[in-house]
Point group: C2
Chain length 217, copies 2
Amino acid sequence: MNADVASVGALLAEPARAKVLLALGDGRALPATMLAAEAGVSAPTASHHLARLVDGGLLTVTSRGRHRYYALAGQHVAELLEAVARVAPAQPVTSLRTGTRAHALRYARHCYDHLAGRLGVAVADALVVARGDSLELTDVGAGRLAAIGVGASAGESARACLDWTEQRHHVAGGLGRSLLQRLLELEWLQRSDVTRALRVTDAGRTGLETELGVTLP
Amino acid sequence: MNADVASVGALLAEPARAKVLLALGDGRALPATMLAAEAGVSAPTASHHLARLVDGGLLTVTSRGRHRYYALAGQHVAELLEAVARVAPAQPVTSLRTGTRAHALRYARHCYDHLAGRLGVAVADALVVARGDSLELTDVGAGRLAAIGVGASAGESARACLDWTEQRHHVAGGLGRSLLQRLLELEWLQRSDVTRALRVTDAGRTGLETELGVTLP
DNA sequence: GCCCTGCTTCGAGGGAGATCGAAGGATCCG
DNA sequence: CGGATCCTTCGATCTCCCTCGAAGCAGGGC
């Protein structure tokens, strides 16, 4: 019993591991590279920490293509993190900021080079349909993209990227990259300086709904 | 936030500290020497660990005479320990054994050289009355002690030892030592080999009630 | 099929902290 | 007041493990 408490404590004791667990605190699943960036350590170091967390039963890992998605092993781990946070010196400002930040990330963020989050899923709904493992641009979708200056032909297939927050696919690959780039040029979306969150501008709200036919979440 | 999670984790990560926290898990307050024994480390090492746990807000310390009693800092710490135990690999046998052991300790144990726990409090009720900071042997109590072969005169004062499990005083000092020694000689009580728990024999049950006038808890 | 990307393994270096013996302050007992 | 007990501080030693660069494996995009 005591040895187990100590071993769980040791897993929490490393700042890099603590950051990883907190980044996954809302139940998301994130790939190793992103977690390395969150923790501020190199890829080898992150890999080492992630292996230990999986081995200790705090994380689960799912291979999907060349990505490996890590997530909390269950509700009991989330409860553990909350119990620890309750004991740790309270920092209401920080926790509030991370709270709103997490919310913004869930809403809209960039995933490497394309759009993700709820908005990413909503955009995908407006433009493509699932076709096996990939996505296929619809006629309507091609027309809408043309209207905002993104060249793409109906029936073109786009790579699907699974959004682990929403458990839904969204548009990645070349089409996803072109689309995000155009949305930023139009200033319908704005990058955040510090996080991967994206902000929808007023013009973007109008444009996304009327021109792209997106139902904003 | 992350730094705090890591610091709390670091406090749990050391086996000696984990043992200390688990020993205090039921809310008892124990002196430093006893915790050093529980953790299996030397007194200086235990002192070092206890200072860190107090500094980290997981324990509180109360000086009482030359003893320093350590206890969990609050309910939130107990909940933290439970959350950790829930994540740690379950070992039902061990937890059951520690559970019954803790129960036995609460019921009757020796505290250095005298009787403590609920039984210790009950014995004190039958023999002494509080008089300022110490205890005074009553006429009835002196008679009962004489009946089992412990020489003591009425009005004699005995050192009071606060039982942190029961938040009540019991008899320590010379009188407490003589009494425990006699109860073991009579085989009314038996020592445990591994813990400080004491077992009440059948003869002891009868003798304590009829001859010492103790109301067994 | 070639290259690129994501991730892991390996090896060496370095820093944080756990441990105990010895010694000192504090308190109590007789 | 003298001896004993409880606890802490100090200093030296040592072990654990965190860290990153280099290299290797695997899967995808084009």
